[in-house]
Amino acid sequence: MTPVSAPAAFDPGAAAARATAAILHDTLHGTERGVVVDSPPGAGKSTLVVRASRELAAAGRRLMVVAQTNAQVDDLVLRLAAKDPELRVGRLHSSEGDSYDPALRELPSVTLSAKPGDLAELPITISTAAKWAYVKDVEPWQHAIVDEAYQMRSDALLAVAGLFERALFVGDPGQLDPFSVVGAEQWAGLSYDPSASAVSTLLAHNPQLPQHRLPVSWRLPATAAPLVSRAFYPYTQFRSGTGPGERKLSYGVASDGSGPDRVLDEAAEAGWGLLELPARHTPRTDPEAVGAVARVVRRALDRGAVTCDEQSSGPVALTADRIAVGTAHRDQAAAVRAALASLGVGGVTVDTANRLQGREYDLTVVLHPLSGRPDATAFHLETGRLCVLASRHRHACVVVARAGIAELLDDHPSTEPVQLGVTVKFPDGWEANHSVLAHLAEHRVSWRP
């Protein structure tokens, strides 16, 4: 375990390299059928998957890679091709037209097919779990890499696990748990509860499997890693790859003294900013809060925000494609998109927490899931939702919320029934929400639009 109060000599590069070496050793030379890797946000999970894929292929093991969405699959194929243009990769896609990124057609090393038979001879075949589930009656693959395994449901793993002999499971335990639109309580507590995550089933049946952890987040800045680590990963803390002051966000234009400008200044300074609107119960698409979110984005662009970090030699202008807005609900995202369009802002990613998983931006603006609500339901309290929203940024995160969330939380302690045999998840959403809120309160800017 990485010491929490590490001495000054903590070398993030070396720590990460040690963890990676151990993972690869267990994967290539271990005796167990599975290896599990927990990866906090931005800890180089994709890099690890690419590296492990190449090493397994180099060792002559026929490899299948299971990801959860088509976008994740395409991203992996592109990364593999960029890293090793010679390595032949099969992209198994759905038979329905254009489910893959057309850019893949340009890659000479990549074979695209909807039929697994066409790809059987290739060293690596990549597809989504949903597509793999339809692959039947084939020679099993020697090895598999299951990406985003904590977001994969147990029943999805059941459908594909017969296809491989051994597997490396990689994922982030802090993100959103998989869910079902129908009740699955009748199986709660069973080791193979089909609605649970693939990793919880895997470990319930195979507790002896080696478990590793990536210790360094390369994405989160030094201002964010301690909070995210403490609030969402209290027992498996991680550190940021960069130290304090190594990343800077600044603006070409001075503040005009308005709420959005002040919160942007606070976020540039501290990495976090809370723009607090007056307390009020509102519909989900609270027009004032949505407007405030759009205003913050608009001002960040208008003020000529510039970022400095370890990846570039000089300052880089913050462009719209490096900004994301995160919400809890799709209608909120739609409302923010409309508000941004009316302010003449385009190119900013606006999406729900579910769809922002695994993505990375320089600046994020988050509409707090509990803002303006009269109640705190399990959905809005879910730890993973807040964790995703609070861990997408490389520089700063601005949260927009109505006042009164702390009181709302105190009025709504978690009331989910406790099920026998279900491992209790720590921290619970209530606790995590409180710790994030307490930290945000130190960077609060009150504003009446």
Binding site: A133, D155, L158, A161, V182, S191, Y192, D193, P194, L420
Partner: protein, 527 residues
């Protein structure tokens, strides 16, 4: 809660009576449903106190157990219940029609059509409340593992012959009730609250009396007043005017009326057993007293349940509800076949594959139900439109275009003017669907015009020729409703057979790798 239901509830408060949530009936209602009103004993799981059962509202079959903790009496009750309920369930078993089912051929692995039979109708069981469904499930669990004297001659306490079979059917019905849109075992409160919004909370809607009071308040009273009276009103003896729909009873009834009556019955039985003489008049009098009390508790719920059925019958049936009922008929036929084939009762716990299969079925059915209800009912569709999941409007322009190929197919562009705000994003190329003579026609979203009009490109259902078949392309001025969701649900992939459960899920059931359960089952564990 969807915005439209919230609005309906607010309107119900203001109007003082329930507001419709649907314009058609979204669940199948049998012409001859079997209504079951069970009551249970406080403090002991699965100890029925009595039940009213029947298909004729004027002549319920009455069952009462004068001493519910006496297990001999309990099993005698369950044996009676089994005879009566199974007669109804099995009455549908032999009326069949030929049907086709696709199966996987074990030799070739291909999907092939198999001739089979399908029961033309299936039984429908209606209980007063959701707790009643749970109770059916509990009774099923307590009965299905019992062994009869024929099955196990050495058993010192054999179960009456039909009891295990009723347990299996109750279990089947209980599991089926978890499938969204299924109507084989339904509760009156669920049926009513699907179709009406009251001015009270969902939890309060679980009280059948209060729910009916909102939907059909007595003249001169508001729904809120009538519901309050149904919930809390008591007579001069402190008894509820409207007894709970059960299976739990009111503690005031238990303490003041039921407990003394049962005590008198126990005393009479003890006196008879102690002798002298064999005059059981006292026992029978005491038994009748208990019976009167219990029947009195159940009969208002019995009437309320039939009242709920009347209210629902008044709604026109939803077009696609029948299709869902066909799935119930398949489920009934399937279980009939399993029973006839002599398969063992459903296991205590699902194995990994069965659990995953059930979950997949239910998710598919949920998607299907959501889509079908919206297509059947403009009020439900309005809710989806409000959520940006559908949009309706008028066609303002059609531009014919064709695919670029040797045999061009029509791909017309249709512009729709709508007040709705569908969640479509430029560049997303999302698909939308509309119902064309009951079958879905798909189109691709192209762009929003400056003035908010939606431009779509029709993709299919226009025939094989170069020119679209008449009626397959909307014309200017047509009203159209497009949905962002598909109209039918696709089932998931086939899962491995249970005996091929992979290592990640503990291997095949019963293998060494299987994990031990947290609470081991003992021989005594009959529930």
């Amino acid at each position: 809660m969807p915005l439209l239901s919230t609005l309906a509830r607010l309107e119900a408060v203001r109007a003082g009576r329930a507001q419709p949530l649907a314009t058609v009936r979204h669940r199948h209602l049998s012409d001859n449903p079997l209504v079951l009103v069970p009551l249970t004993t406080a403090g002991e799981a699965g100890a029925p106190l009595g039940a009213l059962v029947g298909t004729d509202r004027n002549e319920p079959r009455v069952f009462v157990i004068p001493q519910p903790r006496d297990r001999d009496l309990r099993w005698a009750f369950l044996a009676d219940l089994a005879v009566h309920v199974l007669a109804h369930i099995e009455a549908y078993a032999d009326d069949v029609e030929p049907a086709e089912r696709s199966e996987t051929d074990p030799e070739t692995g291909k999907r092939v059509k198999v001739e089979t039979e399908l029961c033309v109708d299936a039984p429908q069981l209606i209980v007063p409340s959701r707790a009643g469904i749970e109770y059916v499930r509990l009774l099923g669990r307590s009965m299905r593992f019992r062994r009869t004297a024929e099955e196990d001659p050495d058993n010192p306490y054999p179960a009456p012959s039909r009891v295990p079979l009723l347990g299996r059917w109750f279990t089947h019905l209980g599991e089926r009730a978890r499938v969204p849109g299924s109507s084989m075992l339904v509760s009156a409160t669920d049926l009513l609250s699907r179709h009406w919004a009251t001015g009270q909370s969902n939890l309060e809607d679980q009280h059948l009396g209060a729910l009916l009071a909102w939907i059909d308040p007595p003249a001169g009273r508001s729904g809120a007043e009538a519901a309050l009276r149904a919930e809390l009103g008591r007579d001069e003896h402190g008894q509820l005017l409207c007894p709970p729909a059960g299976p739990a009873t009111d503690p005031a009834f238990d303490n003041r009326l039921l407990a003394p009556a049962i005590a008198r019955y126990d005393a009479a039985r003890a006196a008879l057993a102690a002798g002298p003489g064999d005059d059981d008049r006292e026992v029978r009098t005491a038994e009748r007293a208990v019976r009167r009390l219990v029947v009195d508790q159940m009969s208002s719920t019995w009437r309320a349940t039939w009242e709920a059925i009347d209210l629902l019958r008044a709604l026109p049936p939803g077009e696609r509800a029948e299709e869902r009922w066909t799935r119930d008929r398949w489920s009934y036929t399937g279980h009939r076949d399993r029973v006839r084939a002599g398969e063992p009762p459903q296991p205590r716990r699902d194995d990994a594959v069965t659990a995953a299969q059930k979950l997949a079925t239910r998710e598919t059915e949920q998607v299907r139900l959501d889509a079908q209800e919206a297509l059947d009912d403009p009020l439900v569709m309005a809710g989806r439109r409000l959520a940006g999941e559908a949009f309706a409007g008028e066609v303002t322009g059609v531009v014919m275009e064709w695919t670029e190929s040797k045999r061009p197919s029509p791909r017309p562009l249709v512009t729709v003017s709508t007040q709705d705000r569908p969640q479509l994003a430029d560049g997303g190329a999302a698909k939308v669907y509309r119902s064309l003579d009951g079958r879905p026609q798909s189109a691709q979203f192209v762009r929003f015009e400056e003035d908010g009009q939606v431009v779509l490109r029709l993709l299919d259902k226009m025939g094989r020729g170069r020119d679209p078949e008449p009626g397959s392309v909307p014309e200017e001025g047509d009203r159209v409703c497009w949905t962002l969701f598909e109209h039918d649900a696709r089932g998931g992939p086939k899962l491995p057979d249970p005996e091929r459960t992979p290592w990640t899920h503990g291997g095949p059931p019963g293998s060494g790798a299987a994990v031990h359960l947290p609470d081991a089952v003992t021989d005594e564990d009959i529930l």
